[in-house]
């Protein structure tokens, strides 16, 4: 298999994978970045959400062959030390229960705030309804996004 070069969290990384391999598994099994999670494999739960050029995508449905030069950001690369306003807000609001979906939630929220620094309630819901949380942390996710939006202002 030909080696592919991926631009992940600001670093060029080589992976030996079939070109149909979804980005999720390239990250998890190829590069040891296990922050993005497998939840459904069909883009319905958002647990695998990462950013491509700043846009939130479901990494379980994006084959590595389609990535080209796109810049991939995972939760491990959102900040060097967990200091991104969304990460800080997630801790301040004590959002996580099991925590499994939260990397995806955080990446979706960070992409939302990048695009819309002061989102309305409707904009928050529209950006986040694709991310399932089986534990039911939605109320605190909303509060954390509002908190992060305030911090960034």
């Amino acid at each position: 298999m030909p080696a592919l070069t991926l631009l992940v969290n600001g670093t060029r990384r080589q992976v030996d994978l079939r070109p149909d391999t979804p980005l999720l598994w390239a990250l998890r099994d190829g590069l040891g970045l296990t922050g993005a999670k497998y939840g459904c494999g069909t883009g319905q739960c958002g647990a695998c959400t990462v950013q491509l050029d700043g846009v939130a995508v479901r990494s379980c449905t994006v084959p590595v062959s389609q990535l080209g030069e796109k810049s991939i950001t995972t939760v491990e690369g959102l900040s060097r030390d967990g200091s991104h306003p969304v990460q800080r807000a997630w801790i301040a609001e004590d959002v996580a229960q099991c925590g499994y979906c939260q990397a995806g939630q955080i990446m979706a929220a960070a992409a939302l705030l990048q695009r819309t620094p002061r989102p309305s309630e409707a904009e928050i819901v529209a950006a986040m309804r694709g991310n399932l949380c089986r534990c039911g942390t939605y109320q605190r996710i909303r509060a954390a996004i509002r908190r992060a939006a305030g911090e960034e202002a």
Partner: protein, 724 residues
């Protein structure tokens, strides 16, 4: 408060102090009988290093219920160490910790005394060590913020300075626990100890476990009531990265290990592609067809029977015959899936003389037992690591997925991580049983309820575990409200064989039974022209303690249930007119030792009935971590709401029809209304909290919908019925 307790103390190699509470006698004997005790990373609850670092082991698995924070809080409270200076580590499975399961909402209640005593014992020793060094009486010293202070002189020594000396002292046989008024930590808001790791992607779940040389496996299972007839491996073997294909021979009980075909590969994706390329044909094993439609028909037939008597007070038949009028209603609930966000997975490394297992689990002891069984190893040769779990909800009380990992590692001679696809996770679940309830009440000429009959026909999860062989344990709980509150009460249960795997789903069958009971009380109230809250309070009667058999017993306090109903009512504005176009419904239930009541407020939105707000009142005794407790209540309510609106599994010819989140809908953010949580202030010992918020949601919602629309919905799920 003074409690006698046997405490063991030993010094660590690094000069620290280890304290553990006494081991139950049975476990001690088991441990003594074992030639080789299992390897243990950390031998006790507390480690105080010479440099003052305090490490507390959390003994139960963290599945999202927050015990990795709340259990160490119990230790830290008594130890008198600031929370910021404490490091929490997850304990492995070790008989010295006693029961280490996560089920029945018992982690906090069962550890409430033992963990506080472990903290108090360590504090007692540290004080004794300081007193000895100063030549003063221990009673003249106090523990404060990680130091021991001599009150008269203000002299102080840090725990780090005292740990080595304290470890050489005899264990205290008597420790004094703090009075609730002195709590600094218990009852406060403490953020989850793994939050920092979670928000940076560093938290390790089962699926993130890695060991050198491991293979990744993906398994295909037969539909229910089927077995493998033919298997063509050609296409699967041709998938790049696939190493080997292994047929899994089942254990006799499907609770333990089901038949399957596993594809082992060098990556998860290759294993999944290989699994999809398997060409398997299945043949029926011979029993009746496993089918939801047939099951519905069988339950409808069975509900006509009086059923096995679960409870029989007074004479319901005579009271019904004498009643001025009778009211009857039939309710139906579907099968529910657990669908935790982290699908079933486990990593096992089986060697000739030992095995090591890493995974998300609710029953680590069960994982060890099944690992031993499928490998032929002694249970003492199995080391079990509980990772953080991406949810449990009762699914991981079964350890079949862990048995698969052990089976495959043994077969392959290498470490193997099994990861189920989401589709297999749905197909191979142990579902919350469906059921049909029929309730009947007699009302006298004065409008008083004189009798109550409740029948349930459903496929008992206990029966599934026994291949439908009698005797079948009922899933009706004999002491649930209104039993004990009316003179004539009969509960009748009929098991309906189905072949559909049944299991414990968050709050077990309370989620079904409370929907029927709390909907029916509402129907009676409206029929009598009574306020639904007032009728409930009247039925509960004066506060008294009733016997309660089963989880959460031995006491059901009617006053505490009335208390949460009144609190939810007060905080929701019950009794005042809701905003124009809105309506409210109320329901309350007792489970797992705790009392929960919700008021759901609904309105008509553009797409149909919309849930605007849920007010929650809970009496779970002393709240340990207020932040975590609120999260459990909010999450439990959303869980109940998602199930009430959308949850439904159907099976045709043994095949589960909903195999991903498109077919089986979970609650999403746009459907999640504000949830206001109110705890009844209490210094009673803590009771369950993971499950009690769930059962009142569905009936409170159905009752609110009736108040809004005048339409009574008796069948779940509701979403399709609420669209305009």
């Amino acid at each position: 408060m003074r409690r006698r307790r046997f405490v063991q103390v030993s010094a660590t190699a690094a000069g620290g102090l280890l304290v553990t509470v006494a081991i139950p006698a049975g476990l001690r004997r088991a441990l003594a009988a074992a030639a080789q005790p299992p390897a243990v990373g950390l031998g006790a609850f507390i480690e105080i290093a010479a440099d003052g670092t305090v490490t507390i082991a959390s003994k139960n698995p963290e599945i999202g219920q927050g015990v990795k924070t709340s259990l160490p809080m119990l230790v830290a409270e008594e130890l008198e160490v600031p929370w910021q200076r404490i490091r929490v580590v997850q304990a492995g499975l070790d008989p010295r910790y006693g029961d280490q399961g996560a089920g029945g909402s018992t982690s906090v209640s069962e550890n409430w005394n033992g963990l506080r005593q472990a903290g108090a014992a360590a504090r007692t020793l540290l004080i004794a060590a300081a007193a000895a060094r100063w030549g003063v009486q221990p009673a003249t010293c106090r523990a404060e913020s990680g130091t021991v202070v001599h009150s008269a002189t203000g002299r102080h020594l840090s725990y780090g300075d005292l740990a080595a000396a304290a470890a050489r002292l005899p264990a205290p046989t008597d420790v004094v626990l703090k009075a609730p008024s002195d709590y600094r930590l218990i009852g406060s808001r403490v953020a989850g100890v793994d939050n920092g790791a979670i928000v940076t992607g560093r938290a390790t779940y089962g699926i993130d476990s890695r060991v050198p040389g491991m293979l990744h496996a993906c398994v295909l299972h037969p539909p229910f009531g089927h077995r493998l007839e033919k298997l063509d491996r050609t296409r699967a073997k041709a998938v790049a990265g696939v190493h080997v294909i292994v047929e899994i021979a089942p254990l006799p009980s499907p609770l333990h290990l089901r038949q399957g075909v596993a594809v082992l590969a060098d990556s998860t994706w290759a294993a999944m592609q290989g699994q999809r390329a398997l060409e398997a044909t299945w043949e029926p094993t011979g029993g009746p067809a496993i089918d939801s439609t047939a099951l519905d028909t069988a339950m409808l037939r069975a509900i006509e029977q009086a059923g096995d008597t679960v409870r029989n007070d007074g004479n319901v038949a005579a009271a019904l015959a004498a009643a001025a009028r009778t009211v009857e209603a039939t309710y139906q609930v579907p099968l529910l899936a657990h669908a935790p966000m982290e699908p079933m997975n486990c990593l096992a490394d089986v060697k000739a003389d030992r095995a090591e297992v890493w995974g998300p689990m609710q029953d680590p002891d069960g994982v060890r037992g099944l690992t031993a069984r499928v490998t032929g190893l002694d249970p003492q040769a199995v080391t079990v690591h509980m990772t953080r779990a991406g949810g449990g909800f009762g699914r991981r009380l079964m350890s079949d997925y862990a048995a698969e990992a052990a089976y495959l590692s043994k077969a392959a001679g290498r470490p193997v991580q099994v990861v189920w696809t989401r589709e297999e996770d749905f197909r191979q679940d142990f579902f919350r049983p469906c059921g049909i309830h029929r309730l009947r009440a007699g009302i006298d000429a004065a409008g008083r309820i004189t009798c109550w009959e409740h029948r349930l026909a459903n496929p008992s999860r206990y029966a599934y575990a026994r291949n439908d062989r009698p005797p079948v344990a009922s899933e009706m709980y004999p002491d649930d409200f209104p039993a004990g509150c009316l003179p004539n009460v009969r509960l009748g249960y009929t098991h309906v064989a189905s072949g559909v795997p049944g299991g414990a789903w968050r709050s077990t069958l309370h989620s079904s039974n409370a929907f029927a009971v709390q909907s029916f009380v509402d129907e009676l109230a409206h029929g009598l022209g009574r306020d639904p809250l007032a009728l409930r309070l009247e039925l509960l009667g004066p506060p008294r303690r009733l016997d309660y058999r089963g989880h959460g017993g031995p006491v059901f306090d009617t006053g505490r249930l009335a208390g949460v109903l009144q609190l939810a009512a007060a905080r929701s504005g019950w009794g005042t007119a809701p905003a124009a176009g809105r309506a409210r419904g109320i329901a309350g239930h007792f489970t797992f030792g705790s009392y929960a009541a919700h008021v759901v407020e609904v309105s008509r939105g553009p797409a149909g009935v919309r849930v605007d707000r849920i007010v929650v009142a809970i009496d779970c005794g002393q709240v340990v971590n207020l932040s975590g407790a609120e999260a459990q209540a909010q999450g439990g309510v959303y869980d109940g709401l998602g199930a009430a609106l959308h949850g439904e599994i159907t099976v045709a010819a043994g095949r589960v029809k909903q195999t991903n989140f498109d077919g089986y809908r979970l609650l999403r953010m746009d459907e999640a209304p504000p949830v206001e949580v109110h705890f009844v202030p209490s210094s009673a010992a803590p009771s369950g909290l993971g499950e009690p918020p769930v059962p009142p949601v569905a009936p409170a919602l159905a009752n609110a919908v009736f108040a809004l629309t005048g339409v009574r919905h008796r069948t779940l799920p509701l979403a399709g019925r609420l669209r305009s």
